[in-house]
């Protein structure tokens, strides 16, 4: 199944409009290219309508939001909704400041979102309208493990039902759910949290995957999450003793670049619940 999904990204090469943060934007652009799609970054309110209309899908990331770009996110999101384009929201740091939580809530309310991708703390902040996020990382108390997995799956399904969006919660175990079905994904490596922006990169790539697979958004989002984790495994295996998080960053993107549909099909580790 994931085989066809990646193949469609490579075949269709969707153009993805990204309104994203300036911290990880370069890696986001390179990973979108690596997976077979084409990125454009644009965030001025006077051009986002044009750019969204030109593109096939939209990725909104609030990582370094400001008053100017929040307005642009809303304009672009509404245009994408109007055009029936897939929209991914990455609520980076929701719960860490009122501005972030409020912005994420407003985007959730005013835009038809296809996927919301965040760590458990960010998604909980969104679900409750407040948060205990530790900066841009998940709070320790929130971490997903085998003991609380059933609860997190139930939470993800309920929030998906509520928002009518696919909920992708990434962590040690990743959950990708709509209201009825959840993929539990066990790809990835703990060292991925040592690289800034692996979450942002995944959100950008998810936009490419769901855009190229409009009839299977849940499977496409799950495939993106699995591909990112699998790339983290492949990249980890290339590391030598002197390599650290910066080389790892490069190798993760390289692994996406070299990942064939067959490799993903074989390397994906998930169960459906």
């Amino acid at each position: 199944m994931f085989h066809n999904i990646l193949e469609n990204v490579r075949k269709k090469c969707p153009l993805i409009h990204n309104i994203t943060n300036y911290v990880t934007v370069n890696d986001c652009a390179n990973i979108v290219i690596a997976c077979g799609a084409s990125p454009i970054m644009a965030d001025d309110k006077d051009e986002v309508t044009d750019i969204t209309a030109l593109c096939d899908g939209l990725n909104i990331n609030i990582g370094t939001l400001n008053n100017g770009t929040v307005a642009s996110m809303l304009i672009a999101g509404k245009k994408a909704t109007e055009l029936n384009h897939p929209v991914v929201l990455d609520p980076v740091g929701a719960g860490a400041s009122k501005l972030r939580t409020d912005t994420a809530m407003k985007l959730l309310k005013e835009i038809k979102l296809t996927v919301i991708r965040g760590n458990i703390s960010e998604i909980k902040a969104l679900a409750s309208g407040k948060g205990t996020t530790k900066g841009v990382d998940a709070d320790t108390a929130d971490k997903i493990n085998e003991d609380n997995l059933d609860d997190v799956i139930a939470f993800a399904k309920a929030f998906a039902e509520d928002t009518r969006a696919i909920i992708a919660i990434t962590g040690a175990i990743d959950i990708v759910a709509d209201g009825k079905k959840a993929f539990c994904i066990r790809n990835g490596h703990p060292m991925m949290s040592s690289v800034t922006g692996t979450g942002c990169q995944l959100s950008a790539m998810t936009a490419a995957f769901v855009t190229a697979n409009p009839d299977h958004p849940l499977e496409a989002a799950a495939a993106a999450v699995s591909a990112m984790g699998y790339a983290g495994e492949i990249a980890y295996n290339r590391l030598t003793e002197k390599d650290g998080n910066s080389t790892y960053r490069n190798y993760i993107i390289d692994a996406i670049y070299n990942m064939t549909p067959e490799m993903l099909e074989k390397g994906a580790k998930y169960e459906v619940r």
Copy 2:
């Protein structure tokens, strides 16, 4: 000829003011250093006059323009014109939004440009005042090949005559032309389009090359284009099976860092038409 041009960059170490996008800015800074020049990035309207005056050349890139930075581009460009500093314009995505096309047209009208560097779609958008740009990549219908090469050269020369700027159109074959003479450059590798910002990097490096060679702007621009393409070849040859576009990005900058004037002279593949 290209030998002396690179040597001058290394000897004079020109200081280049960059008003550029936040996607590829880090790579632009590192490649400017790699070629032997020194970069400074500054885009607030209250300081660009000072910074332009302090520098030797200016690179304007509209990749993630906004209303604030467009004003700064105009102020800096006019100051550079007044000081007779070389100015390079990279009209990223001209044709993709009205804001981009209009901004590029305004910069073209109000600033004395030394070089305009873009892909064929962007340059056509500028020449016609409208466009069919596919995001930030060239439209397939526009691609330069052996069949349409004569036409593209004639177009480049005419647009150079019209704007009194050197026109650098990069693609599978690169054209660098003034009103009378065109360099057709056949360096480069197709994988370069898998790295975000190779065009932006080239524009920043072109600003360094033309600034260090004020009496030979056409040759300097051609040398920069050739050096970038040659770096793409050298970098490609270093890649191993597991490397992808992220490692390639690093190796391209590395290749510029290690490129001697002799290497460039020998590796450059061009004809003058």
Copy 3:
């Protein structure tokens, strides 16, 4: 001594709020993670109070300041002062434009700074209120060497006394001083100046080091400077003939990631004067 300082960073994993430039921000985030801390970047005036309050320390870098972010720097800095959080100021390019010099002076006046980290030209610009900075690099006339070392140490101590901040002046020899004591650090490699943002990265890492070691800010700042230089040495030794400044950039961050407290203790080269 440096042993314990790095150990504390790794143990406490302080959360560092960075208001920094968009050129080197990704490397800053990755090096903060590499040393064992956790970064968050946020610069909108409507959220910096929340973010500063959530964090343990603050790093202010004026590398691509604009009118919006300058306001945010002041708000965040005052909040940090109120909360008694360590604050590091990196006055990038002070002396290069009136806006930069004035902003740095204002931050110096209105915020309780723990460390000011810059090259000699930037620090002199700050001390005199005007400057001869060559862009973002130190002016040649200003370079620290064995002949002027005593003078620079005296200057650093006097300016530290005056500002009640630790002054970290980095160059061929690094000086880290409070009013009474100066560390002269001889780690590092000349090629580090070929990588954009090694100074910015150091400032971000310094914020992590002083935050995790509140009782020893001078030693913590010196340890950060030494660690950065030592990473430059380790990374240089990994380079092969074809590697250049881009690979070097990655290897420096990798070296911080892999640096144990024992390695730093042993590799640090300094004298106290």
